[in-house]
Symmetry: C3
Subunit: 149 residues, 3 copies
Amino acid sequence: MVRQQVTGDLYAEVQSFYAWQMRRVDALDVEGFAATFTDDGVVVHADGHRQAGREEMVAGMRARLPRYKDVAVRHWFGHLLIEAGGAGEDTVRVSYYTLVTQVDGEGKVSFQPTFTVEDVLVRVDGRLLTRSRVIHRDVPGRPGAAAVL
Amino acid sequence: MVRQQVTGDLYAEVQSFYAWQMRRVDALDVEGFAATFTDDGVVVHADGHRQAGREEMVAGMRARLPRYKDVAVRHWFGHLLIEAGGAGEDTVRVSYYTLVTQVDGEGKVSFQPTFTVEDVLVRVDGRLLTRSRVIHRDVPGRPGAAAVL
Amino acid sequence: MVRQQVTGDLYAEVQSFYAWQMRRVDALDVEGFAATFTDDGVVVHADGHRQAGREEMVAGMRARLPRYKDVAVRHWFGHLLIEAGGAGEDTVRVSYYTLVTQVDGEGKVSFQPTFTVEDVLVRVDGRLLTRSRVIHRDVPGRPGAAAVL
């Protein structure tokens, strides 16, 4: 097990990036969320469905908006593993746990299944963007992405 | 979207401040919690109720103590967005998600609704204190404070 | 209340250590998890049971594996309080909240009781290991480890 040490500054930068990106998605700000990806950004969903490019992402999110009419969604992240490097200092690989809460108008909280996510972030003009995201559903007896980094 | 980069040191300082502040409130340490606010600290609750000053805060918390007789409360924070500056380097604006768990004597966990909180922290004699806090309940179709920072 | 300020680098190092350690336990990687403790590492469980040394740890985890046949477990941490020092710069005391989710094959999420944990970490050959862990169940009317650091 050789792990590279992440600096405090990069740790804060990555966490702040996700804080901003998740505020966009939780606010159902479809365009704002898509803008946190590179133009050719790719998302591979847990069911294997692959979305490529901001346009496809925006269309997919728009189609899902009615599901969120009666709930406020919040994405919670845990245990980020961050690995800088690759192509210069401007590529960052991150994996993390996610828990998604939905709260209805009466304040009742419900939970989506947990997932483990692997991202490749790139720094463009001084700020991070997601270039690729692979989402793994956490299922019994399959560690999934847990050993990735 | 122009976002200022938070340093690793400030990120750690703010997270550590909240870790301490939440241990006080979760331990039902009313005076200790109030001491993490400035003398003239203000909290605007999600129902619009406004508490000003440590004395009012202590009285309000004391009145609510009986609610927590049979549960251990824990506050969980997510996705901090931190913005330093304003009046010198000693003012920090922070927004974050909160999830509150209550566990009873048998270990059963229940959940309060999720909230999004906006704080103004100030550094006094080298340590952070909360000067103001505005708590927004997360409700469907209202992004609330999600776009604040 | 005198609190020492943790640096951004140490904050990131400690968080990354736990991210790695929890991936091992959540992947049911018994040996990999034990390897994140010192040889003489000690865990005191919430029921008072004390495990000393990696061998005892591995045996104990192996015995509990059947419980996790039908669920994917994820450990979530909150509000780390980090205190460096003690024996040189290579001892770090940490306390934190934990919430444990279990998701079954259908995606239904359930929750274990919340806990507060106190760790002593040591840096050996440049990387952190857990030397001791004391786990406190959060129970009503007993703040537990909340005031430790």
